[in-house]
Amino acid sequence: MKDSFWFPIVFMLINVVLFTGILAVMFRYSEEKIETYETSSYQQKILSTLSAKIGEVTQQSPEQIMAAYPGSFEKYVQKLEPKDFEREVYKAVVADTVVAYCFEIKGNGLWGSMRALVSTSTDFKTILDFAIVNQQETPGLGARIEEKWFLDQFQNRLFVVNPESKDDVTQSYEFIAETQTPATDRQLRRVTGATITSDSVIKMLRAEFNYIYDYVRSNEL
């Protein structure tokens, strides 16, 4: 029977149906859990990038704001849907006053695309905080752009220095080794062994800030 023409085909089909079925059931069972985690993780990242500014106004520490999630997210963060603006954008509102904005930005890394969240001051010139949402860089190398020391370099950084420029409104930066200490505010520490990924992050920020600034120059969010 095993040597017949049809047996291998039928055998293979049975296996495919069986294993695909098992995977489909397992995925269905876990789907909600995965989605819930992804939504909550995304919202917490938005809140985290805005928490310092919200805390400044409400006299709370960022930790207190994060601990009050999801209530604090619902209370302070609002999603905006500006016309012809192709990025996700959120604003932090305290007592009917906008205190900061948070944008989802996109760019390309070494192995694939990456998504990040960047919160800005209300004049869109200063980066308040920066977080990576999704990246496909090498684990242990490029993926280290998610580490706190790397992300914290962008905190409270005046990023837009040429607001009138039509070509590039941003500051130019140079990367130094991870173990060095920046001598000027135009220097950033690069992840060791991940030159292209580190460069990609700054390239993404500059391109996205030019896009955002170009929009807000003539439109309201």
Binding site: D3, F7, N15, K33, Q136, P139, L141
Partner: protein, 198 residues
């Protein structure tokens, strides 16, 4: 062979990495952090054991002409199960491992053990062989990542071991260090373990 002998053979004597030189790509790729190595190892142990057991279970009915397709299908299914499990229950680690979980499918140890052992041996023997091979693989990953993380980051499993005085060896974080550490490990084991035994 007894189950104990199968286990010892798979783990030490015929270790997938230092004896059969299989699974080198992932051994080089994930070993700069011990946590990544451990999770990768656990994923491989699970996949090897379950795939070996399943392949052995259906070996009497598996036609020779499609056996490798069936083996790949079974291995891929178990890898996807690991991937879904990590995404649903250990999302942080799933994110850290990134593309490597999916790449377990391409780990030659899996096809190697499926073809060399599981397709010709009993179910429980294949399960033991899978667990043994996986543990042998994980041991090597952890040994290399111990040195790389300690010297490259000054930490073990993310916990800082070296003080602030420690200057991290950047080379240990990068891929070349895995090449020479793995080569040294294979050299030492072949010199002292196999030659002494011979």
């Amino acid at each position: 062979m007894t189950k104990k002998e199968i286990f010892i053979n798979a783990t030490f004597k015929d270790n997938a990495i230092w004896r059969q030189i299989l699974g080198i790509c992932s051994a080089l790729a994930v070993t700069n952090l011990m946590l990544n190595s451990l999770i990768m190892g656990l994923g491989v142990i699970f996949t090897l054991a379950m795939a070996g057991m399943t392949i052995s279970l259906i070996r009497a009915w598996t036609p020779r002409s499609v056996r490798m397709m069936v083996q790949v299908l079974i291995i891929a299914a178990y890898v996807i199960i690991v991937d879904i499990f990590l995404k649903a229950n250990m999302p942080v680690i799933s994110k850290q491992l990134g593309p490597y979980v999916g790449l377990i499918i391409t780990n030659c140890i899996l096809m190697g053990r499926a073809e060399a052992f599981a397709s010709q041996n009993k179910v429980m023997d294949s399960l033991v062989d899978g667990i043994g091979s996986g543990i042998g693989y994980t041991m090597v990953l952890l040994a290399i990542s111990f040195i790389r993380e300690l010297f490259g980051f000054g930490s073990i499993f993310g916990f800082r071991i070296m003080g602030d005085w420690w200057t991290a060896w950047s080379i240990m974080v990068m891929a070349p260090s895995a090449f020479f550490l793995l080569a040294m490990l294979i050299w030492i084991i072949n010199t002292y373990y196999y030659k002494v035994k011979a």
